[in-house]
């Protein structure tokens, strides 16, 4: 099947214009982060001279390295917690048969109807009363259990033939060993997808770290950016943009690397 030439040109034209429009806000910010204040104030699009001053300044004035490290720790811990809990739960729903399984499955579906924002007040009280304000535990623990992730992995575990499980039972391989040595390696693509998704969403988390961090010890980079934006003088746009670019760089790279996997995985987990 070939597309007529004029149609091809139309498609490329539309694609290019859309891409420019979509990418413009990020591109402008990127370009501004290398501009001097004078360039920005006089409304230049492309810097007249490239300067790294903004990046130097943002690291000097701000504990950005600490914030980045905090975000990295929080995101990795949440990601691992989700992978462990979701894969265990998905295994139970696919390979184990026991009374009450269907009820519990329904309970998992029901959790998707409770918005986190609606239950944030008691959650804040819990974390505060446990003395977990400004701790990694308080920042991460509430997000380990996740229905969406469980469904996504369940979908992929279901592809594993039941005969394999029967055979391993006959061979005397226990459930936990079967889970570790057969199920997890076979489902590694889905685990990777869920991992990337978990990392992305945790890195970008906003409301919860805003509530549960009150000083710089565990503050994440998103809240750091909020601080930067509200503290800096408004004419220091270059510094603010440099901060924002550093914040989005890790997730953008991750997204570019894992886009294809993420797209397939999310579509699979979302439907059915």
């Amino acid at each position: 099947m070939t597309i007529p030439k004029y149609q091809k040109i139309v498609f490329y034209l539309l694609l290019t214009v859309s891409a420019l429009l979509i990418f413009a806000p990020a591109l402008i910010a990127f370009s501004m982060s290398f501009m001097s204040n004078k360039d920005i104030m006089t409304g230049h699009i492309i810097p007249t001279s490239i300067t790294f001053d903004n990046y130097v300044k943002v690291f000097e004035r701000f504990p950005l390295v600490d914030f980045l490290l905090n975000s990295l720790i929080v995101s990795i811990v949440i990601m691992l917690g989700q992978l462990v809990l979701c894969s265990l739960a998905a295994y139970a729903f696919v390979f184990l048969e026991f009374k009450g399984r269907d009820v519990l499955f329904f309970v998992f579906i029901a959790t998707m109807m409770v918005p986190f924002e609606a239950s944030i007040i008691p959650n804040f009280q819990t974390i505060r009363d446990m003395g977990w304000i400004n701790t990694y535990t308080g920042l991460t623990l509430p997000f380990f259990a996740m229905a969406f992730g469980t469904f996504l992995l369940r979908q992929s575990f279901k592809q594993i033939p039941k005969e394999l499980k029967e055979a391993s039972e006959i061979a005397g391989i226990g459930d936990f060993k079967f889970f570790l040595t057969i199920v997890l390696p076979v489902a590694r693509t889905s685990l990777l997808t869920l991992g990337v998704y978990g990392f992305l969403t945790s890195w970008n988390m906003y409301l919860w770290p805003l509530l549960t961090t009150t000083d710089d010890t565990t503050r994440t980079v998103q809240i750091g950016l909020r601080q930067l934006q509200s503290q800096e003088q408004l004419n220091e746009w270059g510094v603010i943009m440099a901060g924002a670019i550093i914040v989005v760089l890790p997730t953008l790279i991750l997204l570019f690397l894992g886009q294809k996997k993420l797209q397939q995985g999310l579509a699979e987990g979302a439907l059915k």
Binding site: R101, P122, L210, L225, L255
Partner: protein, 312 residues
């Protein structure tokens, strides 16, 4: 002889039932072993807070959030007669009305474009999905500049055409619209990615047979693409609705609910009430309203979706 056999048989049966019961207990214990971490965390951080929120909504609280006086439905009466909360509800509905159709239409357009088998289309796919990797905080910073009254790009472009500058974030008439535009931009990445996945899973033989019949591009779009995409479309619409009702970050970064509470969406209102005014009781009543709205919406969507959606 036969009596002995019958006796033996009976013993076997007893043993069998016993073994089976133990087996059942064992498998239940094993199931719970695998599920308990999730169930415990769901209980502590999801189900318990849900009931606690309901409980709190019937009380007045002190500054640390502990209950003091039982007031029944007074918190609910208070919020529904408060012009501030009614305004917040109105703003939230308008925000949803602006962002959900906007996000879906733009993302669908991009997904259909990027689904064409053209050379180099991968680059465009990456660009379109890129906003998914940009956090609310960073995206808000980007847009804050674009909306800036003097140096911001939007007003500079208007200036080129001789149009008067707009107070994108400071004019009560424009603020919600501006926040909606930036929100649509933030949501495009995720929605696009899901829709593209849906498009790619459509069987190509449907298009081939349409081509043999000489069907036009528009015909294929409305007779094959859209109907076959409906389950995916249904999913992204539901998710977009729920996301829109939970919006917080961009409001906090861009407008702090202002000007004149024109962008004070419900989650921001809950946040202010609970964590700035320390009224956990009243804030809980608002949270329950949010919960009910989302619950009703999901149920309506499921009911309507069932009929309209084309499932394979």
């Amino acid at each position: 002889m036969s009596e002995v056999l019958a006796h033996k048989e009976q013993n076997y049966m007893k043993e069998f039932v016993k073994v089976k019961r133990i087996e059942r207990m064992k498998s239940f214990a094993k199931g719970m072993l695998f599920l308990s971490p999730s169930i415990i965390l769901f209980t502590v951080f999801l189900f318990y807070p849900m009931f606690k929120t309901m409980y709190l909504s019937f009380f007045l609280t002190n500054s640390s959030g502990a209950t003091t006086v039982f007031v029944g439905l007074d918190n609910y009466k208070a919020i529904f007669t408060s012009p501030l909360f009614v305004q917040s509800l109105k703003v939230t509905f308008l925000f949803v009305l602006y962002t959900v159709p906007g996000t879906i239409i733009v993302s669908l357009f991009l997904a259909i474009l990027a689904n064409e088998k053209l050379r180099g289309v991968g680059i465009f796919r990456t660009i379109f999905s890129s906003t998914m990797g940009i956090s609310v905080a960073a995206a808000s910073v980007f847009w804050m500049f674009l909306f800036h009254p003097t140096v911001g790009w939007l007003n500079q472009i208007l200036d080129v055409f001789g149009i008067e500058a707009i107070g994108w974030l400071t004019d009560p008439e424009w603020a919600l619209f501006s926040v909606s535009i930036s929100t649509i931009w933030m949501n495009i990445g995720f929605t696009f990615l899901i829709l593209l996945g849906g498009l790619q899973s459509i069987d190509s033989y449907l298009y081939e047979s349409a081509d043999i019949d000489g069907a036009s591009y528009v015909y294929k779009l409305f007779r094959i693409t859209i109907p076959m995409l409906s389950p995916t479309l249904f999913f992204v619409i539901t998710v977009s609705f729920i996301n829109a009702f939970q919006t917080f970050g961009q409001i906090d970064m861009l407008t702090r609910g202002g000007p004149q509470n024109e962008t004070n969406v419900i989650v921001y209102s809950i946040y202010q009430e609970a964590f700035m005014n320390y009224q956990h009781g009243a804030a809980s009543a608002q949270a329950i309203v949010l919960f009910v709205i989302i619950l009703i919406l999901t149920l309506i969507q499921f009911k309507l979706g069932e009929r309209k959606v084309h499932y394979q």
